[in-house]
Structures are given as C-alpha cells and as structure tokens.
C-alpha cells in the first residue's frame, strides 16, 4: 500500500495512473450530472413556497460545497508541498486553484439568481455571502501569485503559504450561518443530524445527492487532467515526457 503511494508520487507513474482513471471519472460524472439534472428539473416536486425557483439548489449546493472542499484540499497539498517538498503536491495547488475559483463564482452567481426572487435582492452583505466572496479573492490571489513568478517551484511554494494562511476562512464560511444571524439558511444535509433525520423531503434530496456526487467526480476528473498538464509542463525536459510527446 505504502509503496504504491510512493510510486504514485513520482510524476511519470502518476501521469499514467491519471490517464487511466480520468476518463472513467468523467464518464461517471457526466452520467450522474445528467441523471441528477433531469431528476432535479422534472421529477422533484416544486417547492410549496418557492415554486420552481428552489431547483437552483441542484447546482448551488454542490458548487458551494466544492468551493470549500477544494480549498481544504489545496491547503492539505500546500502543507505537503512545504513539509516534504513533493513536486506533485506543488502541481496540485496550481491545478486546483482555477477550478476552485470557478466553483466559488458559480456558487455566488447561482446564489444571487436565487436571492433575487427569494430574498428580493441579488446581494446582501451577510456573513455567509461575504465570507464566500473572500474565498473567491483567496483563490484569485493564489492564481495571480502562481503566475507572478518565473520559476514554477518558487511560485508553487509562495502559493502554498498563501493557501495555508487562507484556510482560516474555510471554517468561517462553513459556520457563518450558525455564528451570526445570517439571512442564509443553515446547513441542511452536511451534518450528522441532517443525515439521521433529514430536514429535506426525500424526493427533493435524492436528485441533490446525484448532482452532488456528479459535481465531485467532475471536479476530480478535471483536476486529474489539469494535474497531468501541469506535470507535463514542469517535466518537459525529462526523458519520459519527450518519449511520450515526440516534439
């Protein structure tokens, strides 16, 4: 098991591993997303209060969950990159940041589109929304910093420091709905209580679980592909890359 992990950390074997895994993840993700979207749009009943507007949760909740998850993943990769100086972890930060920024932006935009009919305003300066906006700026900072350096390894470690410091924001986003009297509703499914005793009707829940897992698999597929590109770019002088891609 450990030797397998060790081998996976070397760029060539990771590249081959990702090459085999990514297509299947993407296929599964697209199937789940298609099924989840169909179920969410046509099968799930309309909300008795909000009507069809509530259906935006099938995009909003997965995007918001991923925006936090990707940041945590990035900071774990950052710690690994700083402590063990592992090349693959450095690539992982650079590969994850743009995806995380896109999901954060998606969560914000879908939230705004829902907020207009539900709250009567596209934007309110509430703890959850503000903290999520700050998260977007953290992602943009990592992306910008990564491009500011000529040397890829220096850039990656600067990003790693930023990602580590920024991780304090993640619990603030997650618990903001409990700590402050937020207009945003509390967590419905991402808690143990929510799993034992769901606060959402089952025929609305299962399409959400479908899109949620679809989004996560989609992220992993895209992340692996971006990681592959990142590895190729950094190892472009290495023998195995030149054998793989004869220029």
């Amino acid at each position: 098991m450990w030797t397998w992990f060790h081998r996976l950390a070397s760029p060539p074997s990771f590249y081959r591993f990702a090459d085999r895994l990514a297509p299947w993840l993407l296929l599964l993700a697209l199937l789940l997303l298609a099924a989840g979207s169909y179920a969410g749009l046509f099968i799930a009943p309309a909300d008795y209060l909000q009507g069809d507007v509530f259906r935006v949760i099938y995009v909003h909740v997965p995007a918001a969950a991923l925006s936090l998850f990707i940041y945590v993943l990035m900071s774990v990769a950052a710690a690994i990159a700083l402590i063990w100086r592992m090349k693959l972890a450095e690539c992982a930060i650079a590969a994850a940041a743009p995806i995380g920024a896109s999901f954060t932006a998606l969560a914000l935009v879908t939230g705004m589109l829902w907020g207009k009919p539900a709250w009567g305003a596209y934007w309110v300066w509430d703890a959850r929304l503000t903290a999520e906006l700050v998260l977007l700026f953290l992602y943009l900072g990592v992306i910008g910093l990564n491009q500011a350096y000529a040397d890829a390894r220096t850039a990656a470690r600067a990003c790693a420091w930023l990602a580590l410091v920024g991780v304090v924001n993640v619990p603030i986003v997650h618990y903001s709905v409990q700590w402050w009297n937020s207009l945003h509703q509390g967590s419905t499914i991402l808690s143990l209580q929510g799993v034992m005793n769901p606060k959402i009707s089952p025929d609305m829940l299962w399409p959400l679980l479908l899109t949620l897992s679809g989004f996560f698999l989609f992220f992993f597929a895209v992340w692996l592909r971006r990681l592959q590109n990142e590895v190729l770019l950094r190892e472009r002088r290495a023998r195995w890359v030149q054998e793989l891609i004869p220029s």
């Binding site: 700083l82 503000t130 700050v134 998260l135 700026f137 953290l138 943009l140 900072g141 910008g144 910093l145 500011a148 350096y149 000529a150 220096t154 850039a155 470690r157 600067a158 420091w161 930023l162 580590l164 410091v165 920024g166 304090v168 924001n169």
Partner: protein, 225 residues
C-alpha cells in the same frame, strides 16, 4: 535568550533609524491618511447627517489604505542589499526578526495614524465615546493590518511585477479587522456593547502577531532561496 532579544532590538532600531533618515518618506502614510479622510466630507453635502454614520467606515478604510501605501517596498530593500540573506544565515529565527521589523513598521506607520485619529474623528462629527472606541479598535486592529501587509509583501518580494497583486492578497486577511473595527465604533454610536467586536479584534491581533511572522518568514525564505 539575551542574544535573541539583542538581535531583535538591532533589527527594530535599524528600521527606525532608516526611516528617520528620510523623514519625508516616513510621514507619507500619515499625510495620505489625513488627506484621504478629509476628502470624504467634501464629497458629501455639508453638514450631512450621513457623515456621522459612515465615519467609522471612513476612518477604518483610510487606515487600511495608509497601511497598504508603501507595503510593496517593505522587504524589497532588504532583498536588494543582502540584508535578508544575512538574516537567513543568522542564528536568530527569521520569524522573530520579521516580527521585530514589523513591530517597528507599526510604530512608524500606525502610531501616527492613532495620534491623528481623534482629530479625524472630530472632523467627521464622531462623539467622544465613539472616538474612544475608535482609538481602542485602531490600537488592536492596526497591527493586524501591518502584519498581514507584511505577509503579502513577503509573498511578492521575489516577483518584481506582482505589486498589483498585493491588494488581492491582503484583502481577505484585512477584511475581518475592518469588519470588527468599524463594527465596534458603530456599536458604540448606537449604544450597543462594544466588547464583542473588540474581543474579536484582540483575538485577530494575537493570531496575526504570533502566527503571521512564521508564514512571512517562510515566504521570504522561499523568495530568496
């Protein structure tokens, strides 16, 4: 222990001496702060009641901008003349030297702002009670601004064209200080308890002063290696 303190003191004193050799440059943040804060009443209508309501935000945003003013150049000189390399070689942990430098920066940048703040508060029609809370919030909050600015400066010191990045990098770090700092003054104005936001600021201060120098030192080491 004694050599630790004397090394930190040396860095601290050097920082002050360097700044005092160029008094005009050292006065820049203060002048910037005062001019910026006094432009707001000119933009609003004369004797506007809204001025009093936005005054906490004005004072705090101006302090934030003044702290950002020269932050890009904070470590550049030390990198260019080789000081930083000596710091890296020194027996004293880099984080402590960085903390000493940032403490000196706080004295140079933020202390004049604190002294000017009551006058600014008067100009913006803040009452005495709110002005006292404003001072307390600035006292607790400005080190957070300086230390997070130092972290951003350390991240970008190896990348000459990253100056424009600094606002994006520091915004997430400075946001909480701004929210609770201006929040405390607003609470004082409306007669609410100011303890909550001030305690939050104090917590931020402790985190910034203890943990950020370590991250700053790591980023500096990375930029020079």
């Amino acid at each position: 222990m004694k050599s630790l303190l004397s090394a930190m003191w040396a860095v601290f004193a050097r920082e002050l001496r360097l700044a005092l050799r160029r008094p005009a440059e050292a006065a820049q943040p203060l002048v910037f702060y005062c001019v910026l804060a006094l432009l707001f009443p000119l933009g609003l209508a004369a004797q506007d009641a809204a001025l009093r309501e936005v005054a906490p935000a004005i004072v705090w945003v101006c302090a934030l901008l003044a702290a950002l003013l020269g932050i890009e150049r904070l470590f550049r000189g030390d990198v260019d003349d080789g000081t930083l390399e000596l710091w890296l070689l020194a027996a004293t942990p880099l984080a402590l030297l960085v903390a000493a430098k940032l403490a000196a920066q706080w004295l140079l940048i933020a202390l004049p702002l604190l002294i000017a703040a009551p006058i600014i508060a008067l100009a913006l029609n803040l009452d005495a009670g709110a002005a006292r809370v404003l001072l307390a919030s600035l006292l607790l909050g400005t080190p957070v601004l300086i230390f997070s600015g130092g972290f951003a400066a350390a991240l970008t010191v190896g990348a000459p064209r990253a100056g424009l990045l600094i606002p994006i990098l520091v915004l997430p770090l400075m946001c909480p200080a701004l929210i609770f700092g201006a929040g405390a003054v607003r609470a004082a104005q409306t007669g609410l308890s100011v303890q909550g936001p001030l305690y939050f600021l104090a917590a931020l201060l402790l985190i910034a002063v203890t943990l950020l120098p370590i991250a700053t030192a790591g980023a500096l080491r990375n930029a020079v290696d």
